[in-house]
Symmetry: C2
Subunit: 223 residues, 2 copies
């Protein structure tokens, strides 16, 4: 199934990287390995915790070796956000596109998102920690994070619109409001489960989703 | 009106401080001024951004002067969390206690919370940034943050219970679920307004609260 055009890759931050020498297959593999290690670090210690030095040590490379692939810490951070975005799409977005358009697809998007969030209770999530780190800092890292979240929330909103168009949700459904409320239950799940170590947050988040859906199911529909 | 016993001061972290010399009025005033400056810094740069050195510079004091009041950076951070807690109580909790027990008090608690969150869209909120900074770090700072959030969410839950007991909310109301959902709309408001700079997040959060209330208003009640 074709990817949804409004949720494909974010603006091409590779443009600068392409002007660099290391464009061989081996160079690309090394770069991918560095990004993978950086993403692993960033989910635990945050994007701002990343340093070329720490990463070089972890990769058993020289600092100048890592630097040759990224040029700056900021470029490394943007690459990490893009890689996170790609993985999020692969786990959450694309598999749900196989479900029938309308309520089944909306449920699949939510189901995949909550499943990923449940895994991230142990790992951290750079869409949540990054939002705090870059909330009042301008620049390409913040821009990449906002672009990524905006695309995702728009994809979710579109799925709500489609369920409304198919008559599976009532014509009064406010898709932006539904999207806001679903985002909220994911943020609370993360906060209460990861930070407060609440054991019932996952069940509460599922119930919240059912509440939101119940509000908009047409009166005649039997769940 | 007497303070609610379950939402009063968190465990006394002053115990160590009391063993220190600077217990004169002037010493206490200086300490309060340092905490005030530290809180101002922490809401912008996070609790982990605080350092005794930066604070000494801001206060035009020596590092050892600041150190004499706190002993460690961790103790300073805990004092900041406690001060934040006191201000949160003063702004959000105590004024709402003047409202009639039941739905009016619940609405007042929510109204004060959302008003404070709206102000923090420009400032940052240490209950949200602190949750990210300390999500997998053990110690007294994390403990103080969790204790504070737990007390507050319990106070909110109790207000929901009282509205259920008074018959203003339906007997089927699940107070823990309602509390989870209200927490969610505050987190989303902060995320979308502060990080994504959405202009309609405040209205969406208000609508979310109305949706939650509408679900539990007794069938016969006219809003």
């Amino acid at each position: 199934m074709a990817p949804n055009p409004a949720f494909d890759a974010i603006a091409d931050a590779d443009a600068t990287a392409k002007r660099r020498p290391k464009n061989s297959l081996k160079g690309q593999q090394t770069k991918a390995a560095i990004v993978d290690a950086a993403l692993g670090l960033a989910t635990h210690i945050g994007l701002e915790g990343l340093s070329i030095g720490a990463l070089a040590e972890r990769m058993q490379m020289s600092k100048s070796g890592v630097f040759a692939h990224f040029g700056s810490r900021e470029e490394l951070q943007v690459s990490v956000v893009r890689e996170y975005h790609v993985r999020f799409e692969d786990e959450v977005f694309f598999p749900a596109m196989k479900a029938t358009r309308g309520l089944p697809r909306l449920r699949a998007l939510f189901g995949n998102w909550i499943a990923r969030t449940a895994v991230e209770i142990d790992q951290g999530c750079i869409y949540i920690s990054g939002a705090i780190e870059f909330e009042d800092r301008e620049g390409p890292v913040r821009d990449a994070l906002v672009a990524s979240m905006t695309l995702w929330l728009n994809a979710l909103k579109r799925a709500v619109s489609q369920a409304k168009a198919s008559g599976e949700l009532s014509p009064e459904t406010d898709e932006a409001q539904v999207t806001f409320e679903i985002h909220g239950l994911i943020l609370t799940l993360h906060y209460q489960a990861r930070f407060m170590r609440s054991t019932d947050a996952l069940a509460r988040a599922q119930t919240s989703f059912d509440h939101i859906m119940a509000r908009y199911l047409p009166a005649t529909r039997i769940q």
